[in-house]
């Protein structure tokens, strides 16, 4: 056992991770400057020179991290990592502590969430340690159908799993501060009951053995505040989702391994699939208010990175356990859904700028914040770089034709530009090559060697098509955030629903127009040099087609049947994912508008809902119902369930007296006094119930 303190053994590593990116970026910059030697320099060239280090630096950071991950993989793992410490020798005998598994939900598919909980429950039960774990389903849903469905799913789960007193449901009336507020609400109410909290997303799944190991790791290492697993993306059906999960399996581990080597105990927290020590989290990690003038913009949108930084600031370690299996999530099903998510993440990541220079934040966390910031800022920088580079090339071409003397013509060709080009290509593609090399020993899990290579090739092609599309959208997101346009917290679509061609033409058609204009302009001004821009321009021109085809389930399934984009979790489906295999399929039979009225007509759904509301609110004295509520009730009875908007439905459902009054009236009034929809729903609620 090495007894040298962790801090003193990380000096060389820190020096490497500081010097390697800087020296490689400097080398690239020198090559760029030398490529201009002997040439006329125009004003766009200064922009290119100014932006180059930022863009090239980002490519270099990616390369250095993945190369380090590859080196770590070659030597069999990081000896300084928390999961390789001596506590693993007596892991099985280590005691456990009270742990809450917290699942915040916001207008999610309650049945899919319920299936996930059931699988995790059974998996935990198999470990024989379930008595240490409680589940909390914490809802912020503002959709009446989702709320009622969540309640029913919760009760059915409690009944099926005999989980009364172990599986809890909590609905917040006011969804203050979105997901982070939901977690904080749990911490304030029940945080003292538990030593640890495992935070999951609605689509997250973790195996029982992984959860048990995480708790033991925390128990054995009291200096650790957060332990983040690296969730594998699974259950994808559409081509887009399959592509994401394949690239995550192929390259993600090396990247996470490299990040972990660089950051060590200042690791990342991604907001889910992680275990958190509750006492320091409650004491130190409530999100600070951002120092901006507008009161509505002071809340930190993307909480995880900041929470990790605050935990480390409070002298607790944060680690990423990249080697742990049994942690899963689902990716966005199509490009549009990913962009919707990115819009939110972009706003959150740009807010992190404030923490980049905050006092007391560790270097590893600053690196994480920088990577997060640049992941979005790079897009507008790249866009400006391309325009400036093209104008520079145009000016140079004009100069060469009209103004250059014979002595200038020979200087235009130089070897530095070629070396820089080769270096850039290597830095861009080497991480992919390393990812494939590290996967080759497990190629059978990816459908075999030839399938693996072909899938990697196709994934690279698709990524090249998608990258220019993302560049334009991300640039727009950055500008819109900087201009202060409001971001709405929307629920994430997790079902593999394809996009319509019409939607794709409407949403991405402007990129096709831009690409076509770009081709014409570039060809007329740059001549044959316009081919350098073609990878970008083709991406734009094909944007609607790319978005449409990648969103299709049958394309993804057909490729899967040919052994392409296969991931290890598909070769051998983990038991925790078995019942979820078809969860992504949209349920065509469900009529969403008829779910919430069941709380007004079905006695069991109603009584469950009333129990929830009664426990929260004191019953109002008779005769004190607000006139506006009375008006709402009457409107609902006479004009049917579609007459109320989302807010009005929620207001009524929160009022126990109104709900009970409506139950009485909707059953007692004659047909002529009721809207015809109610008669139909009455019959339906007699035939099937959400609780059946």
């Amino acid at each position: 056992m090495n007894t040298v303190p962790l801090e003193t053994r990380t000096g060389t590593r820190n020096a490497f991770f500081t010097c390697a990116p800087l020296s490689l970026t400097a080398a690239g910059f020198v090559l760029l400057l030398r490529s201009y030697s002997g040439q006329q320099i125009f004003w766009p060239d200064y922009i290119v020179m100014g932006l180059f280090p930022l863009l090239f630096g980002q490519v270099v950071i990616g390369f250095v991290l993945v190369s380090s991950g590859f080196f770590d993989w070659l030597r069999g793992g990081d000896p300084l990592h928390i999961m390789r410490r001596p506590w693993r020798d007596h892991e099985a005998s280590a005691p456990l502590a009270a742990t809450a598994i917290v699942i915040p939900v916001f207008n999610e598919d309650a049945h899919r969430v319920g299936q996930g909980i059931a699988n995790m429950w059974r998996s935990l039960k198999e470990t024989g340690q379930i008595e240490h774990f409680d589940f909390y389903l914490c809802s912020d849903s503002n959709n009446a159908d989702c709320w009622i469905e969540e309640e029913c799913v919760w009760l059915k789960l409690c009944q099926e799993l005999n989980a009364f007193g172990k599986l809890f449901y909590r609905k917040r009336r006011h969804a203050i501060n979105s997901k982070s507020g939901n977690i904080a609400d749990f911490c304030r109410r029940w945080g003292k009951r538990y030593r640890y909290m495992i935070v999951l997303d609605a689509d997250s799944i973790m195996s029982g053995s992984t959860m048990v190991r995480l708790v033991r790791a925390m128990e054995a290492n009291p200096e650790v505040g957060i332990l983040q697993t690296q969730p594998a993306m699974v259950l994808g059906q559409s081509l887009f989702r399959r592509m994401l999960q394949f690239s995550g399996s192929l390259y993600g581990k090396l990247f996470a391994e490299g990040c972990s080597m660089a950051q060590m105990s200042s690791g990342s927290y991604w907001g889910h699939n992680a275990i958190i020590r509750l006492a320091p989290f409650i004491a130190h990690c409530d999100l600070p208010i951002l120092p901006v003038p507008h009161p509505d913009k002071r809340h930190v949108l993307s909480h995880d990175t900041v929470e990790a930084a605050l935990m480390k600031k409070a002298s607790y370690e944060v680690w990423v356990t990249y080697e742990e299996t049994g942690s899963y999530e689902e990716g966005p099903p199509n490009l549009t859904d990913m962009l919707t998510r990115d819009r939110r993440w972009c706003a959150g990541n740009l807010q992190h700028f404030w923490f980049l220079f905050a006092r007391g934040i560790q270097m590893g966390n600053r690196l994480q914040i920088w990577i997060g910031l640049m992941s979005y800022l790079c897009s507008p920088i790249w866009f400006v770089f391309l325009i400036a580079g093209s104008i520079g090339a145009y000016e140079r071409a004009r100069f060469t034709i009209y103004s250059a003397g014979p002595e200038d013509l020979g200087k235009v060709q130089n070897s530095d530009a070629t070396i820089l080009f080769i270096m850039t290509i290597l830095l861009l593609f080497m991480p992919r090559v390393l990812g494939i090399l590290s996967t080759l020993p497990r190629r059978r899990e990816f459908g075999g060697g030839s399938h693996l290579l072909l899938s990697a090739f196709l994934e690279t092609l698709l990524s090249m098509l998608v990258a220019p599309i993302l560049m334009l959208f991300h640039s727009f997101f950055v500008v819109s955030v900087l201009l202060g346009w409001q971001i709405k917290w929307t629920s994430q679509n997790r079902a593999d629903t394809g996009l319509s061609l019409l939607h794709c033409l409407k949403f991405y058609g402007w990129q096709t127009v831009l690409g076509a204009c770009g081709v014409t302009l570039a060809y007329s001004s740059l001549g044959l040099n316009f081919f350098w821009l073609m990878p970008i321009l083709i991406g734009w021109i094909l944007a609607p087609i790319t978005a449409w085809i990648t969103s299709l389930r049958n394309v993804g399934q057909r490729l899967h049947s040919h052994g392409l984009f296969v991931i290890p979790e598909e070769t051998q489906l983990p038991i925790e994912l078995r019942d979820l295999a078809y969860a992504g399929a949209p349920d065509q039979s469900s009529d969403i508008t008829h779910l919430w009225p069941q709380a007004l007509l079905n006695p069991y759904v109603l009584s469950l809902h009333l129990s929830m509301v009664h426990q929260r609110l004191a019953t109002r004295k008779e005769g004190q119902t607000a006139q506006s509520l009375i008006n709402l009730r009457e409107r609902l009875v006479h004009e049917g369930p579609l007459s109320l908007n989302a807010k009005e439905k929620m207001r009524l459902l929160w009022d126990a007296d109104s709900v009970f009054w409506l139950y009485h009236e909707l059953w007692s009034r004659s047909e002529s006094s009721l809207h015809p929809d109610w008669l139909e729903i009455q019959v339906e609620s007699g035939k099937k119930s959400l609780l059946n």
Binding site: R188, R189, R359, Y604, M612, Q682
Partner: protein, 189 residues
């Protein structure tokens, strides 16, 4: 006169048919596993309502039968849960949850709304308890002050002081200066 009477009896028949259909649908929502029991219950409540209707013909049949059934349901639940001191809504919610969790409508449908309820069924209903969340253990979770460092000071000196009107005026001013300068240079060169 006969036509008027026929019309009235037709309307009455339709109204009672509607009342019966409504009551049947209402009882269906309790998911009794025995359909004849549901039908028997419906007929029993319908007969009682008819008797009351004869006393007070002005009341609408659907309204009468459903009010009577719901009242009976609440009384039955209160009696078997021993919760007569609570409000109707509270009795209904805890009673129906107890029915659902005890699975009595499926295992002993004939005992639904029957009095007296056998002790074992009454006991199984009373034993059900719905826990939505454990007792609170309130913790204080408040944000700690954080020093945002030099960027905050810079922002306070610049960005936080800007307002769009001033920026617009400044921009117009410098654009005007640029054009004047450009025009002047063009004229002298």
């Amino acid at each position: 006169m006969n036509t008027v009477n026929d019309l009235r009896s037709d309307q009455e028949r339709i109204a009672w048919n509607q009342a019966y259909a409504r009551l049947q649908t209402f009882l269906d929502t309790f998911m009794l596993s025995d359909q004849p029991v549901t039908a028997q219950l419906a007929l029993r409540f319908l007969d009682q309502a008819r008797a009351r209707h004869r006393e007070n013909p002005s009341q609408e049949p659907t309204n009468l039968v459903m009010e009577q059934t719901q009242k009976h349901l609440i009384e039955w639940l209160a009696q078997n849960l021993d919760e007569s001191d609570k409000s109707s809504s509270q009795i209904f919610s805890s009673g129906c949850i107890a029915l659902f969790l005890s699975r009595m409508p499926q295992t002993a449908p004939a005992k639904f709304l029957a009095s007296p309820l056998p002790d074992n069924l009454r006991q199984s209903m009373r034993e059900t308890l719905l826990i939505t969340g454990p007792d609170f253990h309130i913790s204080s979770m408040t944000p700690r002050n954080i020093d945002y460092g030099p960027m905050l000071h810079l922002a306070r000196q610049t960005w936080h002081r800007w307002n769009s009107r001033e920026i617009f005026i400044a921009l117009c001013f410098w654009i005007a200066i640029y054009f004047i300068f450009y025009w002047w240079l063009s004229s002298i060169l």
